[in-house]
Amino acid sequence: MALPKRIVKETERLMAEPVPGISAVPHEDNLRYFDVTVEGPSQSPYEGGIFKLELFLPDDYPMTPPKIRFLTKIYHPNIDKLGRICLDVLKSNWSPALQIRTILLSIQALLGAPNPDDPLANDVAQHWKENQNAAIQTAREWTQQYAKPQ
């Protein structure tokens, strides 16, 4: 089925004016499916890491949000073992006026500002609340171990 103009335009703009620290490349055989990488923000425990994500635009996009998850293992209170992300704009606060670009920026911002009060990964959030320094240390180690650029 023909790709909606909106998706074509979004993809063109992502290619023409990429967001610093973020890349999103559609699969050749499925233009609704993107390989995404996000650089860990500086001053965060994810600094120096490059995180892989997959992003899929469902049939009724942009009426419903993109489906997106981390492929790289990450130690973060709002991201669970399966890579699912707890982010309001990906759920109830989605709006068709948002776009792939804004969503990826929100995810990058979430790496810079973990929110253990709205957790998805309960054990990680607990760790974060009880001993923030130790949790941050673990996040750094995971970044070193799993998100090192090749």
Partner: protein
Amino acid sequence: MSDNGDVAHARSRGGLAAYQDARALVRLLQCSQCSRPLRTPVTLPCGNSVCRECLPQTHLRENISYPNAPDRHYGFQCPFPGCGEEHPLADCSVDVVLYKILESVAMEVSRSREASDNTPTALEEVMQWGDIPEDEKISAAAHARTLNGGRLVATFTFAELGELGYLSEVTYRSLSPTGDAYEELDKAFLERLREGAHKEVDCQVCYALLLDPVTTSCGHTFCRKCLVRVLDHAEHCPMCRRQLLIPASLARQPSNKTLSTLLYRLCPDIIEARAEAVRLDELGPPGGLDTPLFIVTLGFPSMPTFLHVFEPRYRLMIRRAMEGNGTFGIMMYNRLAAPQGDLGVTQFMQYGTLLRIVSVQMLPDGRSLIETRGISRFKVLEHGQRDGYTVGRVERVEDVSLTEEERLEAEETTAPISLDADAATQIDHLSTRQLLFIGIEFILKMQRNSAPWLHQRILDAYGGPPDDPASFPYWFASILPIDEEEKYKLLLTTSVRGRLKITASWIRRIESQRWYALTLNLMV
């Protein structure tokens, strides 16, 4: 094409040309109340726009208790002829798109004026008296100015100065020493304007040029079709998330008049091409995947099916069906994950029923109750997705010819039978008429027993038992409380006799008590 050819072409399509139609172009952006270019424009629920400062005096609205928001208590009488309604102040926000367009035009005008000094044109206002009473004509004197920048820039400036009445016409006289009419200035200016305003007039939902723009009470503008789809999913504005108090009948909400006229006059070709593209899109994908499929339950030919539509994707599907030929397919879930022929294991059962929409009752929250009637059965040959719902290429399932029907009956009823034959074989030997009587008699017996599934309310909806053998099984299946998987078998039949054998077998099973307990349960 020659320049003159371009102009003629644009004008023949309803477009306006930069030099020849400079006066009309500027009027598109003038406030009909104060005659200046719209300043902080507000678009009213009737689709007309005025400067915020030009909104009439507000008054307290009387006898209003719903929705009881404080800002809905003040309103004003609409100044536009042809409207005259009372608009609540709350419904009149600054029109964000128009505001940005006006801002970008004003900037471009001032830039062009500075860049082209010493390009004087003499402008003279020509009043159009229209309905103005005789004694008021004297007090209004026509204005005249000499301004730079070509006709468009000069006319806009004339309006900015407050000297060009909304209805007035203008005569132009170039004061160029070389006799230059500055036509090229106008063309270049309009081109820059088109480019500059371009990104402001894209819909933020579909990313294409606004088509039939509708402006919300919060001042945001979307294509009508896009806004309708947004409201299928949410009650909030995509831009500002404010609640949209738009009635379910968005179809009746007027378009943003200033914006639609402006877009049409500036680029009629693009607008028409876009409308055509949308029309084609609404027709659905090529390749025969042209039957929308509602996967929810069983439906039967000639029988009513009542549906409650609340999922956004199905709201869209039903709306498209209503704009199209009024039909869609209904199918049941493949609950047991059984393979469906060539399709493999699909989410739905391969056979379904084409329904025609009889009536739709829209609820204020966007849900709807629809009544349909079954037309024919079909088999899905191929399927795909469209905007979240399933579409399919389908093949009609027909009964065999009447002679074949007769041949079947003769063959089956005359086959030899042993005395201890099982129930199914016995049924095979009954005449088609006898098979129907089994059904009719069973209904009469159940009525005498006051079976709840034969309640008057149900008979009102589905009618009494039809005496047409072809449709009796569909009626029976519509009201009998047994498993859907069992009823589904009717959709695969290709003869009246085949269907009646199925209903007779249900009755035999119920009567032989194997189902009786179950059916009794369902009857309480």
